[in-house]
């Protein structure tokens, strides 16, 4: 992950990105770029706007200032629907549905990667035996895993993961790292926020430092 050459194409580039809430600056101006196969760690204190940044990149928030480009062309929200996966504080799981049903809905609306299916995604994420349990009965870590199964199943180039390590045990953290490594090897990119110390499998990731 670290030895990306400068010739690897840039996927996402931000220039002078800034965001205001009721005219109070939340963050910015911020410059960064993410290359193909790159995993970037978004760092910053509480309230420095890490989640806000990811929500802007997902297209959920309107960008106030600055420019975003995707493969050298201006970024447009509508073109990235489906090619960007967003995992936020709210996991987007229905408590009354089982993990299997939740994933089936996601696959029905987003599509599915070749050679993947719901059952194998759930077993490789460590939820074998819990597929048909209503999600609200799962533990916090298991819920997180059910949400992470989306990453395995759905096709997307850019992953935006807000605190993916929260609530996970050691094997869960390793699982996230393995998912990121595989995604990176396939040429995908990811922006990850985390307030804890993180060690990726491949060593030091790129860092995006937030400052208000």
């Amino acid at each position: 992950m670290t030895n990306l050459s400068a010739t690897t194409p840039i996927l996402l580039e931000a220039r002078g990105l800034a965001f205001y809430r009721q005219d109070e600056p939340v963050f910015g101006p911020l410059d960064f770029s993410v290359r193909e196969g790159e995993v970037a760690l978004v760092e910053g204190d509480n309230g420095s706007g890490k989640t806000t940044l990811l929500r802007i990149l997902a297209g959920l928030l309107h960008l106030d200032e600055g420019e975003l480009s995707w493969r050298g062309r201006p970024w447009r929200r509508i073109e990235h629907l489906g090619d960007t996966l967003f995992l936020g504080h709210h996991l987007g799981l229905k408590g009354d549905l089982s993990a299997r049903e939740n994933l089936a809905v996601a696959a029905g609306t987003y599509g599915m990667r070749d050679g993947r299916d719901v059952a194998s995604a759930l077993s490789s994420i460590g939820l074998a035996g819990y597929e048909d349990e209503p999600v609200r009965r799962l533990s916090a870590g298991q819920k997180k895993r059910a949400a992470l199964a989306r990453l395995l199943l759905l096709p997307a180039t850019l992953w935006l993961l807000d605190e993916p390590y929260a609530n996970l045990d050691r094997t869960g953290i390793e699982l996230v790292n393995r998912l990121l490594a595989e995604h990176s090897a396939e040429g995908g990119a990811a922006l990850v926020t985390s307030h804890g110390a993180v060690s990726f499998l491949g060593g030091e990731p790129t860092r995006v430092r937030m400052h208000a």
Binding site: T84, K94, D96, E101, V105
Partner: protein
Amino acid sequence: MSHATLASACAATLRRDLTLAWRRRGDITMPVLYALIVVTLFPFALGPEDALLQRIAGGVVLLTMLLAMLLALDAMFRSDIEDGSLEQLMLSPQPLAMMLAMKILAHWITTALPLIVVAPLLAGMLHLPAPVMPVLVYALLLATPLLSLLGAVLVALTAGSRRSGMLLALMLLPLCVPVVIFAAGAVAAAQQGLPWLAPIAWLGAALVMALVLAPLACAAALRIALDA
């Protein structure tokens, strides 16, 4: 990589909402019970004279449906916002308006359809003449989807706000005045032996307009309400 087609996405969204409603089927009966209670109270307030009850039956049933639907409306997007499912839906590579149309359809099937099923019973309790019953059902079949569609736009607007219950009623009132007028007008006309097709046709025209515009407006409203 297999892309999700619009048809599969619509089916997945509709199936999801219907399954969720089925898992909590106790909630489906609530609006029906509410309507039953309200209609039961009317004769106590107005007196049990057949002629009077007969005259107001159509309007009372219609307004009861409206209020019962209003109560259920608030929940249309709430849980989806709270657990983040709505964000996932908004980011999916599908036209948001179509996905919302499916959600509105599921909401109509789970709240309005049971109400329409019991409507003849409620109207019968108030002695609505049997020949007028079909007109009442036609009117409800057109008026309730209209209310679901208009209500969805307003619920979407209040999605990011702190309180919404009473506010929703205040916002819905001006929008539902025409719906109430034409639906009740059709029933009243049928009761007086007058032609009732015109108001039904107006409702139908309004429904077609709303079917096209309301999901788009709902999508725009959700984007506005959640952009913070």
